[in-house]
C-alpha cells in the first residue's frame, strides 16, 4: 500500500469536511466537520511518518489530537452559553453584530 493512497483518502476526507463546514447550519455539525478535517490531517501525518521512516509525524498527530480536544471543550462551552441566551444552535441566529 503506497503512501499516495492514504494521502488521497486524507484529501478526500478533508474536502468533505470543508464542504460540510461551509454548507451546514447547525453549529454542532459544523464542529463535527472541523473534527473530520483534523482527522484527515492526522491520517496524512501518519502516512508521511511511515514514508519517511521516522516517528515525528506520529508525534505531531498526537499533538493535533490534544489541540482538537481543547478546541472541542471550549467550543462546546461557547455553544452552550449561546444556546442558553438565544435558545438556538443554528449559526444563523447569533446575528446581533450584523449592521
Amino acid at each position: 500500500m503506497s503512501t499516495g493512497h492514504f494521502v488521497a483518502l486524507a484529501v478526500i476526507l478533508f474536502v468533505i469536511g470543508a464542504v460540510g463546514v461551509l454548507v451546514r447550519r447547525n453549529a454542532m455539525v459544523v464542529f463535527m466537520c472541523v473534527e473530520l478535517m483534523l482527522n484527515a490531517v492526522n491520517l496524512a501525518f501518519v502516512a508521511f511518518a511511515r514514508m519517511h521512516g521516522t516517528l515525528d509525524g506520529q508525534v505531531i498527530a498526537f499533538f493535533v489530537m490534544v489541540v482538537a480536544a481543547a478546541e472541542v471543550v471550549v467550543g462546546l462551552a461557547i455553544l452552550m452559553s449561546i444556546f442558553r441566551t438565544r435558545q438556538s444552535a443554528s449559526v444563523d441566529d447569533p446575528n446581533l453584530l450584523k449592521y
Binding site: M1, S2, T3, G4, H5, F6, V7, A8, L9, V11, I12, L13, F14, V15, I16, A18, V19, G20, L22, V23, R25, N26, M28, V29, F31, M32, C33, E35, N39, N42, V46, R50, M51, H52, G53, T54, L55, Q58, V59, A61, F62, F63, M65, V66, V67, A69, A70, E71, V72, V73, V74, L76, A77, M80, S81, F83, R84, A89, S90, D92
Partner: protein, 299 residues
C-alpha cells in the same frame, strides 16, 4: 490489531491484507463522511462521525502506529464524541437542520469551493514524489511506544509542556463559559412547602393509568364518569404523543376507545372509584386527583 504480527508474517501477505483492509475502510470512511454532511439530524451526524473515526483508527494500526490507533479510539471516539453527544442532548436532539438557504447560492458556491480544493490538493499530491513503500524502521511496530515516548520527552518536551498549559487553560475556559450565576436565592424546603400550600393545588398530581385499561405512564387515568383525566399524564409525554400521532384526531379516537373500554368494564371500574370517594377507605390519593382532574377536564 497486530502490526507487529503483520510485519512478521512476510511482506507479500501483509501487503495483500493491508490493501484489502485499506479499500474496505476507505470506502466506509468516505461514505460515512458524505452521510455526515447529508444527514439532517445532528445525532446521526455524530454516529457517522464515530464510524469515520473508528475506521481511521484501524487505518492507523495498518500504518504501524498502534499507539495512535488506541489514542484515536479512546480519546476521539470515547471522549470527544461522547462530549459531543452530551452537549447534543442538552442543546436539543430534535433540532433538525433547516433546508432554507439564508444566503442565495451558498450551497452551489460551497460545492464549487470544495471541487476547487479537491483539484488543488490532488495536483499537489500528484506532483509530489511519494515513496511507494519503505522498509519499516526499528522504531515502528513493536517498539512504537518506546520510540514515541523518547521523542515526546526529549525533542518535543517543550511543546509537550505547552500542551499541558493549553489543556489547563481549556478546562478553565470551559468552566468559566459554562458557569451560570444564581440570580435568585436557592429555594429551601420551607419556602417550597409554603409555595405549595398557597398554590391552587396542594396535593400531588393524579397518577397515570388509574382505573384505565393499562397502567402505562402515557395512559390517562379515568374519572368516575369515564372521561380521561388530562392532568394525570405528564405534559411532555402528552406533547410527544400528539407529535407522534400527528394531531388530535388519533388522540380523540384513543380517548373514545378508552371511554368505550370503560363502559365495557363499567361495573368493575366505576364501582371502587365511587366507593373510594364515599367513605374514603382507599385514601385521598384516589379521591382527590379524580375530583380535581374532573374539574380540569371540564374547564
Amino acid at each position: 490489531m497486530s502490526p507487529g504480527e503483520v510485519l512478521a508474517a512476510g511482506s507479500s501477505a501483509a501487503s495483500a491484507t493491508e490493501t484489502t483492509a485499506f479499500w474496505i475502510l476507505a470506502v466506509l470512511a468516505v461514505v460515512a463522511a458524505l452521510g455526515m454532511i447529508i444527514a439532517r439530524r445532528a445525532v446521526h451526524c455524530a454516529v457517522l462521525l464515530a464510524v469515520v473515526m473508528l475506521s481511521l483508527a484501524v487505518l492507523y494500526a495498518l500504518q504501524d502506529a498502534p499507539f495512535l490507533a488506541f489514542v484515536q479510539v479512546i480519546v476521539y471516539t470515547g471522549a470527544v464524541l461522547m462530549l459531543f453527544l452530551f452537549v447534543l442532548m442538552i442543546v436539543g436532539v430534535s433540532s433538525a437542520d433547516s433546508l432554507v438557504e439564508t444566503i442565495r447560492g451558498q450551497r452551489l458556491a460551497a460545492g464549487l469551493v470544495g471541487i476547487g480544493l479537491l483539484v488543488l490538493l490532488s495536483l499537489v499530491i500528484g506532483h509530489a514524489a511519494l515513496a511507494s513503500d519503505t522498509a519499516a524502521s526499528a522504531s515502528f511496530g513493536a517498539s512504537n511506544l518506546n520510540g514515541l515516548a523518547t521523542l515526546i520527552f526529549t525533542r518535543y518536551v517543550f511543546p509537550f509542556e505547552a500542551t499541558s498549559a493549553l489543556l489547563i487553560t481549556a478546562a478553565l475556559g470551559a468552566m468559566v463559559l459554562a458557569h451560570r450565576e444564581r440570580t435568585s436565592p436557592k429555594p429551601t424546603q420551607r419556602s417550597l412547602s409554603k409555595a405549595r400550600m398557597t398554590s391552587a393545588r396542594p396535593t400531588p398530581l393524579p397518577g397515570p393509568g388509574t382505573y384505565a385499561r393499562h397502567n402505562a405512564v402515557d395512559m390517562p387515568a379515568l374519572l368516575p364518569d369515564g372521561s380521561p383525566a388530562s392532568l394525570s399524564v405528564s405534559p411532555i409525554i402528552a406533547a410527544r404523543r400528539a407529535e407522534l400521532s400527528e394531531g388530535d384526531t388519533d388522540l380523540g379516537q384513543r380517548d373514545m376507545r378508552l371511554a368505550q373500554g370503560d363502559t365495557q368494564f363499567g361495573p368493575d371500574d366505576t364501582g371502587p372509584d365511587q366507593g373510594g370517594t364515599g367513605p374514603g377507605e382507599d385514601g385521598p390519593t384516589d379521591a382527590v386527583p379524580s375530583s380535581t382532574g374532573r374539574e380540569d377536564s371540564r374547564s
